[in-house]
Symmetry: C2
């Protein structure tokens, strides 16, 4: 009985990203060093534009996954650091391209690069980073890692193209939306985690465990981001709340609220989110509809399901500080929403 | 407050399959009549073998989905009945083939057809039923319905082939197991539900809603079947409990218990389930390990997630007795486990 209680205690302790930051600190210092080195170019505009986004304070969760997964499997640290940098470059490249495709004006609280330097520059610097990412992978020399990461690059692009079709479409089903985020988010999380065991020469089942961990964490992470864009369960209007709403993005909270709502609700979503005719008080009304239909609470509940899958994927692997940090990162990703 | 309470009351009322049986009664009577007609053949063995399984008391959930979905969309009843029969024939064909592939000796409490008449006969009668299914689809004449059902036939076969690789492999991840049941179970549920709106000429979004409903109900249904094979949450040793265990099937309860268990547990699963060296008391031990690792409870929890997706897929469609029956069937499928 005492054991059960202490187990539940630890379940209820609030999760933190600190353990992951701690176990990957040395590796991430190297990633940052290499990132500066690899954005160097005689074409002066390239380092300027590239570092504008790289230095703008992203969470760098993806390269941390690569480093922690590699450590959990005893992979060579230098190769892991290079692939982690490649993963972060791939992610940064997609951000440059997304901002152009979505015509976004701000990212991470700053003007987007496309506004500062232009769309063409943003597309091309993204391509440069993708090229550098592949060069680093080739330096590492693992054909299996190259295969996994280049497949992810294709899947990400497919997910983005798919999203062009769902972005302005309230008919989108939950399954279709999941296909989009499997592509645009989960694919890189999955590849980031899988290249660790690949470098270690781990067997198929360990690779599959990390692949599954990464993919499901990626889905959970994206769903919580979607919920947070409407303020999470606290629904406080913070400075970033409502970006998806204003950009007309059909995310899971919208899919659920639209399907569960009344005809009036659906007319509201159609006018505001889809047609972009947003009036004073519309964001507040959107949040109130999301609340009434339990769409935010259930988006978090869905995220919890994928989090549980991620956790179970790693359960049978040997205990280590890196494994614990990866598991706590799952809980942290979900608890962010509260 | 009163409204909230009455909503929760209805949520807690035990779900029943009766509404689905009732709304599909007339259509299913026709399905049964056509099934007898279409198993007729001058080759005397064919009706004998085919009806042995068709008349053996399956739940006929799949053709009921086709009929109820067609009714919910106002599709022509005669075409729906033919496609429903085709769906049931496709399902029956896979059962004949599965019993041969799995070398099963009993199904639905009776000797399998392969034991009564032989393996070759079972394979060929399955092929005959598949042929009849396609002939009925051609009679209906909808190329879109033919496309959906023939794609499902391929996907089912792919799922079965995939299962050959996972059946005896405790390394199977939850994602890999989901791929198997997406093929072997969800594909036909999904197609069965989607052909209703296709016959009605409903638009893309309605088709997508029923497709998603069927696929997610299929996953939930299969996961609950997996849990029931170990007695569900009640863990009473009924007459069918333990079939999957004795056949060495790695289902989701096993995936979870294996990953969450100790090294001793894993050695037990390896010896008993994988190597098939089953000793007195092993099934009881298996059930106790599944209980200790919460594998059955969490399999049901996972099923609940897919059930919620199925329910939300249909939420926005106009109310009707058929829609209500389809929604209650989701809850019924899950509550079976308790």
């Amino acid at each position: 009985m005492g054991v059960v209680l202490s187990f539940e205690d630890s379940e209820e302790r609030r999760a933190s990203i600190e353990p992951l930051l701690k176990v990957t600190a040395a590796g991430m210092a190297e990633v940052n060093r290499i990132a500066v080195e690899k954005t160097g170019s005689d074409v002066k505009l390239i380092p300027e534009v590239a570092r504008y986004l790289i230095d703008s304070g992203g969470k760098r969760l993806r390269p941390m996954l690569t480093i922690a997964a590699a450590q959990a499997c005893d992979a060579p640290a230098d190769a892991a650091v290079k692939l982690a940098t490649a993963v972060e470059f791939m992610h940064t490249a997609t951000l440059f391209h997304d901002d152009v495709v979505d015509e976004s004006n701000t990212r991470r609280g700053k003007q987007t690069a496309r506004l500062v330097w232009g769309n063409q520059e943003s597309v091309l610097v993204g391509d440069f980073l993708l090229g550098q990412a592949f060069k680093m992978m080739v330096e590492v020399g693992s054909l299996e890692a190259l295969d996994v990461l280049s497949t992810a690059a294709c899947t990400i692009a497919e997910g983005e193209v798919l999203q062009l079709g769902t972005a302005k479409n309230t008919d989108t089903t939950e399954d279709e939306y999941l296909d989009v985020i499997r592509g645009k988010t989960a694919a890189l999380f999955s590849a980031a985690a899988e290249v660790g065991p690949i470098l270690a020469g781990s067997d198929r089942s360990v690779r599959a465990a990390f692949r599954s961990y990464g993919a499901n964490l990626g889905i959970a992470f994206q769903l919580i981001d979607d919920a947070l864009d409407y303020g999470g369960t606290s629904a406080q209007l913070g400075k970033n709340v409502g970006d998806d709403f204003r950009e007309g993005k059909v995310t899971l909270p919208i899919v659920l609220a639209y399907r569960r709502g009344t005809a009036d609700d659906r007319a509201f979503w159609q006018r505001s989110l889809i047609e972009g005719s947003i009036e004073e008080g519309d964001l507040e009304r959107a949040i109130s509809l999301l609340d009434r239909t339990k769409a935010i609470a259930d988006t978090i509940e869905r995220a919890r399901h994928y989090g549980a899958m991620a956790t179970d994927a790693l359960a049978w692997l040997p205990e280590s500080a890196s494994k614990s940090a990866l598991l706590e990162a799952v809980r942290f990703s979900i608890e962010r929403a509260h």
